[in-house]
């Protein structure tokens, strides 16, 4: 009742005041002449105001001609206009990506960008939306400094995201994703780019320490779209694209294959394998074209609506994404939807919720490389005379003498699909009992059901080698339930106008439960689709299953203080307990502190404010943790198996895991210093930052000597030492316009140095990736460790002179045309002691460049990403150049490989024996420069406003990954891997070129 009375009186007052006033009308649009909806239009110095409608129009009564009207809108520079004699005032607002009043989400709170004290990069949803990708993280690449995204390709795969390099060796390096305040793990495949309002990347520990235990790889906060008050708007977005699957190699045809193997056999003292190679001319099997489609479609359709009133706002989005397979089978499909509602019950109480049901299905054969690897002489089908007529449809395929299974047959048999049904929901209540105090309670619950079906039909291509004598079926289901509760209380107070304080305290609890069930059975009566259920099987039913729980609980607090918007201080403290550690090590504390000085607000800077519009210095320190290791590594687990006694099968148990009872948190200590600046009214703005991250008690699955008797190749989770990564990053943005021509550029640059500063024992050596990488103190972790290849022996003289000082051959099995290895330590023997550092997988610099321009209805953007200074191991050299394996070789190998003095300095002679270990020694022969520059995205758009009853129609044409420049000769220079196996390229799924047509309609 009270409220109503107040409203009534206020309205009455305004009505009275309105008499004798001037009514000003107009339209507010952006620089592209698009109307801006919901712009605040306020009479300066009062609370009198209005907002623009769907067409950008407003109307406002002002008392006199001296009045000034203030137009303000998030993401745009505020504009002040004097009324004077005008009754129609049309305003164009300048958009500002660096608007310092922009609100940035920082975890359990949000602040104005100008008030930030730590290193946080923001990427807006509309920037992400310019690419059509299955995983939103993919489109982050090159958008902000300090973020490296390595695409792993393949439908449904998760790109690897590195924030400021790596801080751990063996654990996942993926950042923590927090969506609308709820920690959601390390994979956001379920999120559609269209649902994202903004992404905030918390790069330094002073920013991320509030997420304590899981923040050591950085945190990405994602804010989804919520409703805004005003008329309901509808948005329809669709894109249709074609991905191109180009064969990364040109493989030998049958004639060439026969020639290569004949040469190799004769060179090895073996008889030529094939008769006249020319007789194979025209008889090649073109495997690639037989099984890989050159093009596959990718579609994205989104529909969104949002709107609301003063009291209730809502947003709904429905999204469908489908990526076709390059095979005859498979694909990736997902449907996501998000419904959110926010209620303002009173000035004191507000609440909201969101619901996010989703469905995802995927399953792809994944054997694309086999289409290159299998020999070209083997036909796809068995020749007629080898068929008996009783084969089933899966047994008519031919077998290759290589170890590669017939890939066409494999795709034919493929029947495997994973379906994922999930419902995530979260809600909050916020209460402001007294001015300045906000109590917020937020809870989330997520249910996720994963069902994987797998059917293997029986077939006999070759009884002992390529067959499944009994058909089999399996189904696994995994139901996970997770919930979290977060309670915070924040008190804000301004003392004496200039002292702003806020204090937040809170606690959180998170629990992850899962239960899985796996069943398999054999001998279904036939391979018919309708029998493909466990019920139909007749032999060897098996079931497995377990349930698990992980939990974390935390207490957190944050204090901020700012004096006169010049000096800022933020301090946080979080204490986390995790179920992954034993009692003594369960709890750890994660403090942080940061300080900023906004120099541009100082009086003495006002003289230069025309040039230097913004200048801020920041320093921060913080500690974060990592507990992302498997559960219960402190337990000595037993596995179960079977043996036979007296012709009876008996149970057996064996040690399957050796415990580490001392396992404790890995912590990362981080120091960050930065300068933010804006020049010429922020036309040019940028940030320069330096950081140093030190990881202590690094968690690592360490390889102990096998004589320890430990299972799993004697690898145990251990805290092994300290690592430091430090670097410099800057980002620079410029934007300007010449008349209707607007243009802008953003350049970001990151340089990282990673170094192992301490290991748990003196002179310790940590080997990785089959002892192909080494990690020692005071050097990069996981550097490539092997022999130094020093070209090829070109002639007998070179071969004869490769001896030690008493004339003994260093490589007794070498022949002319083989690789010469260097006796690195000069002891006259070539052995394991001659292995040395032969490369580093870590990029020295990563650079992203984003360009955009628009002219009237046309717009353009381009995004270029580059990684410079890293090495890659091209493991495919073995398979493609080494005639020991019978897999197909690259076309032209006869000429490329050494076949006489001076014919090659790098690819050794063809041989079927490899007695000199040209290929089986891991050497610098495999190491290549892995730098690359890639045009990630280029897009042209055309916009029509207010036509055909629509507010806006925009069409766009874009190309993704159209151009890549690299010296790397392997499939794909964007190579992931865990830290000690980073940079080992092989048959990585190639990142595909994609051409997309997009349509966006707002009404």
């Amino acid at each position: 009742m009270k409220l109503k009375t107040i409203w009534f009186v206020t309205t009455l007052l305004f009505s009275v005041m309105a008499i004798g006033q001037i009514t000003v009308k107009g339209k507010v649009s952006d620089s592209k002449k698009e109307p801006l909806v919901g712009v605040n239009v306020i009479l300066k110095g009062t609370t009198i105001g209005s907002i623009t409608d769907i067409n950008g129009n407003y109307s406002l009564n002002v008392p006199n001609k001296q009045a000034e009207i203030e137009f303000s809108y998030i993401g745009f520079n505020t504009k002040l206009v004097k009324v004077e004699a005008n009754t129609i005032i049309n305003v164009v607002l300048e958009s500002s990506d660096n608007n310092l009043d922009e609100i940035v989400v920082i975890g359990f709170a949000s602040v104005k960008k100008s008030d930030l004290t730590s290193s946080i990069a923001t990427v807006k949803g509309k920037e992400l939306k310019t690419m059509t990708v299955g995983n939103a993280a993919e489109s982050l690449q090159g958008k902000a400094a300090g973020i490296q995204v390595v695409n792993s390709g393949g439908p449904g795969s998760v790109p690897k995201v590195l924030i400021r390099g790596i801080s751990t060796i063996n654990l996942s390096t993926d950042p923590l994703y927090v969506i609308d305040g709820i920690p959601m793990g390390t994979n956001i495949n379920f999120l559609n780019t269209n649902e994202i309002e903004s992404m905030e990347i918390l790069k330094d520990a002073s920013a991320s320490a509030i997420y304590g235990s899981r923040a050591s790889n950085g945190v990405i906060l994602i804010t989804t779209k919520r409703g805004k008050k005003g008329e309901t708007t509808f948005n329809f977005d669709t894109s249709y694209g074609i991905q191109f699957m180009k064969n990364p190699y040109h493989m030998a045809d049958a004639e060439e294959y026969a020639t290569i193997f004949n040469t190799a056999a004769v060179a090895s003292g073996l008889p030529a394998e094939f008769g006249d190679p020319a007789s194979y001319r025209g008889k090649s099997t073109d495997w690639w074209n037989a099984g890989i489609r050159e093009r596959a479609a990718v579609r994205n359709i989104s529909f969104g609506l949002q709107g609301g009133t003063e009291k209730h706002t809502f947003a709904v989005s429905l999204n469908y994404y489908k990526q076709d397979s390059f095979y005859e089978k498979g694909g990736w499909e997902k449907f996501t939807s998000r419904i959110s509602s926010d209620y303002k019950f009173s000035k004191k109480i507000s609440a909201g919720y969101s619901l996010n049901p989703r469905y995802e299905s995927y399953g792809n054969p994944g054997n694309w490389a086999d289409f290159d690897r299998i020999d070209p002489i083997t036909p796809i089908y068995k020749p007629a005379d080898q068929l008996t007529g009783d084969e089933n449809e899966f047994s008519i395929y031919a077998r290759s003498p290589s170890y590669v299974w017939n890939p066409v047959a494999l795709v034919k048999r493929f029947k495997s699909k994973t379906k994922n049904y999930a419902l995530a929901t979260n809600g909050y209540i916020q209460i402001t009992p007294v001015k300045g105090l906000i109590i917020r309670s937020q809870g989330s619950f997520e249910l996720n059901s994963n069902i994987s079906d797998n059917f293997n039909p029986d077939f006999i291509i070759d009884v002992a080698h390529e067959s499944q004598l009994i058909n089999s079926l399996s189904r696994s289901t995994n139901l996970t339930r997770s919930w979290s509760i977060q309670n915070t209380a924040t008190y804000m107070k301004t003392l004496g106008e200039k002292h702003d304080f806020s204090l937040m305290v809170g606690n959180t609890a998170e629990e992850y439960n899962g239960a899985n069930l796996y069943g398999s059975i054999q001998a279904l009566p036939n391979n018919n689709d309708n029998l493909q259920e466990l019920n139909a099987g007749t032999l060897n039913p098996k079931t497995y299953g377990t349930s698990y729980t992980n939990s974390i609980m935390s207490y957190l607090s944050r204090l901020t203080y700012n004096f006169d918007s010049k000096y800022y201080l933020t301090a946080t403290y979080r204490r986390d307990g995790s179920s992954k550690f034993l009692a003594n090590n369960k709890w750890a504390s994660f403090p942080s502190a940061s300080f900023a000085w906004r120099a541009s607000n100082e009086k003495f800077m006002s003289d230069v404010s025309d040039v230097l519009s913004d200048l801020k210095f920041r320093v921060g320190w913080g500690k974060v943790g990592n507990q992302n290791l498997p559960a219960s590594v402190y337990l000595s687990k037993l596995g179960q198996n079977f043996y036979t006694f007296g012709d009876q099968v008996v149970n057996t148990t064996y040690p399957s895991a050796v415990p580490n009872k001392d396992i404790k948190w890995e912590t990362v200590e981080d120091i960050n210093a930065g300068v933010d600046f804006g020049l010429f009214s922020n036309k040019l703005s940028g940030t320069i930052e330096a950081y140093r991250k030190t990881t202590e008690n690094m968690l690592f699955q360490k390889s102990y000597p096998n004589y320890s008797g430990y299972p799993n190749d004697a690898r145990i989770w251990s805290n092994v030492g300290s690592m430091r990564s430090q670097g410099l990053e800057f980002s620079l943005s410029y934007k300007n316009n010449v008349g209707d021509f607007n243009y802008g550029a953003n350049l970001n640059f990151t340089n990282t140095n990673v170094k192992m500063i301490k290991l748990s024992a003196a002179n310790e050596q940590l080997f990785g990736f089959g002892e192909k990488t080494l990690t020692v103190e005071n050097d990069e972790p996981g550097y490539f460790y092997g022999y130094k290849a020093d070209g090829l022996f070109q002639n007998q003289f070179e071969l004869n002179s490769h001896t030690n000082n008493v004339g003994v051959f260093l490589q007794p099995n070498a022949k002319v045309g083989d690789v010469r290895f260097t006796d690195v330590n000069g002891d006259g023997i070539l052995n394991a002691d001659d292995r040395t550092k032969i490369g580093s997988p870590w990029a020295k610099y990563t650079v992203g460049l984003n360009l955009n321009a628009s002219y009237k209805r046309f717009d353009f953007l381009a995004n270029i990403y580059s990684s410079i200074g890293n090495d890659l191991v091209n493991q495919n050299k073995n398979e493609l150049y080494n005639a020991l394996s019978r897999n197909n070789k690259i076309s032209g190998l006869s000429d490329l490989a050494w076949h006489g003095e001076g014919t090659s300095t790098s690819i050794p002679r063809l041989s079927q024996t490899d007695n000199n270990q040209n290929f089986s020694k891991f050497s610098s022969y495999y190491v290549e420069d892995g730098s690359f520059v890639r045009l990630k995205n280029i897009q042209f758009g055309y916009t029509i406003n207010n036509k055909m009853g629509f507010d806006k129609i925009r069409c766009s044409l874009s190309g993704q990954n159209l151009l890549t420049l690299t010296k790397y000769s392997g499939v794909e220079p964007e190579v992931g891997g865990d830290v000690l196996g980073f940079g080992f390229g092989g048959w990585n799924y190639p990142v595909q070129k994609t051409i997309l047509f997009g349509l966006n309609v707002t009404f």
Binding site: G269, L270, P271, K348, I349, T388, I429, S441, V463, A464, L469, I470, I485, N487, A509, T546, S547, Y548, M553, G577, S579, A583, K586, S632, L635, S636, K637, L638, G639, N641, F642, Y643, F645, G646, D647, V649, V650, N651, T652, T653, Y654, P655, N660, P705, N706, Y707, S708, G709, Y710, A714, E764, Q765, F767, E771, A832, S885, T913, N915, Q917, K921
Partner: protein, 540 residues
């Protein structure tokens, strides 16, 4: 309204604060037993020990122990790599003496697998010793664990020489071992075996058949004594098994390899197989060495169910066949070797002309010992992984030939009597009195070769046997550029298969180097992981 919200918040806060105890963050892994408080019941002890057997032999597994064992056969004069249709890079390092510490082919897993089993034995020995189960059971399980530990070390010391000696569960802080000497390893083996022999029963019945008996301990004791040239002990223990063990020679040599004759009268210890399709517990050797490219058209039944195609690796040499032929030893020749086109010995009705694709076979021969008869093939749900052929580990015949060799050094006059017992079983005439001097020793060795071909002894034998003529290991006269085996293949042989299928190099063994190849290298990964505490074998 307000009240409702406030109460919700209050309740939430209560939930949180009530779970503030550490209980909320205590969750151990479920559904798995742990070693804490394990070994408290007889069943637990037994189940754990059962697995030690499984991992000591791994006869069903194609990549950990079995291929290394076969690669060892190809490093002798008994076997070719055999399969000439496929990439042989797993076999080449051993077969062609090109092994390096980073390229060990099929032998790369042996070291790791043996030690993992030793680790299990050590856990069992410690746990069972402390256990409160009955003394009788305790003795048995301890005895079994001790024997299996010894067996693993026996294999390690013969492949690699002196190795680190781990005799109790090691913590991560204990991993600073160096290599023990060969003598120290053997001393530990002997100690374990003798202790086990005291603890173990002489025999088992029914569902315990296949467990280690005290005779198995003595039999392995006889073998390691022989290998160490401890002639008196070798004689003592082999005699003990022969006279007290209650074993007898199978009257039909082929019965040792009969799928229906598990744990037969001659068997001292066998690795136990099962055709139960639910678990793959069959003998993988049947597939690994089986004839490659069988066709149903070559079976009288013309039925696809008779085909059990194999991988065709490790095929017998004509040199081995000649060895039998030189003695007119039909039974053991045909029980050991099938030449393509001949009847499968003992399976003549169902497989009168065992034919396979000899274009992919170096020697056109396969190992008969691991052959699965057609009648059995028909009963198997899957021929792959389910072949119910037990794999002999120790059998009585070895004791006779061990005693013979020991006696050659102790009482030469008695030596040939034991040889003749073995010869008699396969219908060969006695040799006693027909050989003399060092030729007695050579006759015993020849008998060992013919009797135990493909039973995992040949490489160890030719490494340890010191030829009285040259005073060098026998292997040195067989292998190397002027080795008799190498010269036979490169200059003398007229074998129609081996000399026409040249897709496997004819000069196998020519790279043998006496200065390094009496042992295999320690895997480089082990040296790396030990931080250099473990040394490499000479010249690798």
């Amino acid at each position: 309204m307000k009240k409702i919200f406030l109460s919700i918040i209050t309740i939430t806060l209560c939930i949180i604060s009530s779970s503030c105890s550490d209980d909320f963050i205590v969750h151990d892994e479920r559904g798995t037993q742990t070693l804490d408080n394990y070994f408290s019941t007889t069943q637990e002890c037994q189940t754990f020990v059962n697995d030690l057997y499984k991992r000591a032999f791994l006869h069903y597994d194609w990549y950990q122990l079995i291929p290394g064992r076969l690669a060892n056969e190809t490093a002798t004069d008994d076997a070719w790599m055999g399969n000439t249709g496929q990439n042989a890079s797993g076999m080449i390092p051993a077969a062609q003496y090109l092994m390096t510490a980073n390229n060990m082919g099929y032998l790369s897993d042996l070291f790791k697998t043996r030690y993992e089993n030793i680790g299990g034995c050590n856990v069992a020995i410690e746990g069972i010793t402390k256990s409160t189960i009955s003394e009788v059971q305790k003795n048995q399980y301890l005895g079994e664990s001790l024997f299996l530990r010894a067996y693993n070390y026996y294999d390690l010391v013969n492949n690699f020489g002196g190795v680190p000696l781990a005799l109790s569960p090691l913590g991560t802080g204990d991993l600073n071992l160096e290599r023990a000497t060969k003598e120290e390893v053997y001393a530990s083996i002997e100690k374990d075996l003798l202790m086990a022999a005291d603890l173990l029963k002489p025999s088992y019945a029914g569902s315990d058949k296949g467990r280690v008996t005290k005779w198995a301990c003595y039999a392995l004791m006889a073998r390691v004594s022989l290998f160490q040239e401890k002639w008196a002990e070798a004689e003592t223990y082999s005699s003990k098994v022969i006279t007290e063990g209650g074993f007898s020679l199978e009257s039909n040599f082929l019965s040792i390899w009969n799928v229906k004759n598990h744990n037969g009268v001659e068997s001292i210890l066998e690795s136990q197989t099962s055709s139960d399709p639910a678990q793959q517990l069959g003998n993988i050797l049947s597939t690994f060495t089986g004839a490659r490219g069988e066709s149903k058209d070559n079976f009288p039944s013309l039925s696809a169910g008779d085909v059990m195609d194999g991988w065709g690796w490790c095929t017998p040499t004509s040199d081995l066949e000649n060895c039998y032929l030189s003695e007119n030893d039909v039974v053991r020749r045909r029980s050991t070797i099938t030449v393509s086109g001949d009847a499968a010995y003992g399976d003549e009705t169902n497989n009168p002309t065992h034919i396979w694709d000899i274009r992919q076979s170096k020697s056109g021969r396969i190992i008969r010992k691991f052959y699965i008869p057609v009648a059995t093939r028909r009963t198997l749900v899957s021929t792959f992984g389910n072949a119910p052929l037990n794999l002999p580990v120790l059998r009585l015949a070895e004791m006779y030939l061990t005693r013979a060799e020991a006696n050659f050094h102790l009482a030469p006059g008695k030596a040939m009597a034991d040889v003749d017992i073995i010869r008699n079983r396969v219908g060969l005439s006695p040799k006693s009195g027909k050989v003399s001097g060092d030729n007695i020793l050579r006759a015993i060795w020849k008998e060992r070769r013919m009797e135990f071909a493909f039973e995992g002894l040949r490489l160890f034998d030719i490494r340890r046997q010191i030829d009285p003529g040259t005073n060098k290991p026998v292997i040195a006269s067989l292998m190397g550029p002027s080795g008799t085996f190498v010269l036979y293949n490169t200059t003398l042989s007229t074998d129609k298969n081996e000399t026409t299928n040249l897709k496997e190099l004819q000069d196998k063994g020519t790279n043998f180097d006496i200065n390094k190849n009496l042992l295999w290298p320690i895997p480089q990964s082990e040296i790396d992981r030990s931080g250099g505490m473990i040394n490499q074998n000479p010249n690798y």
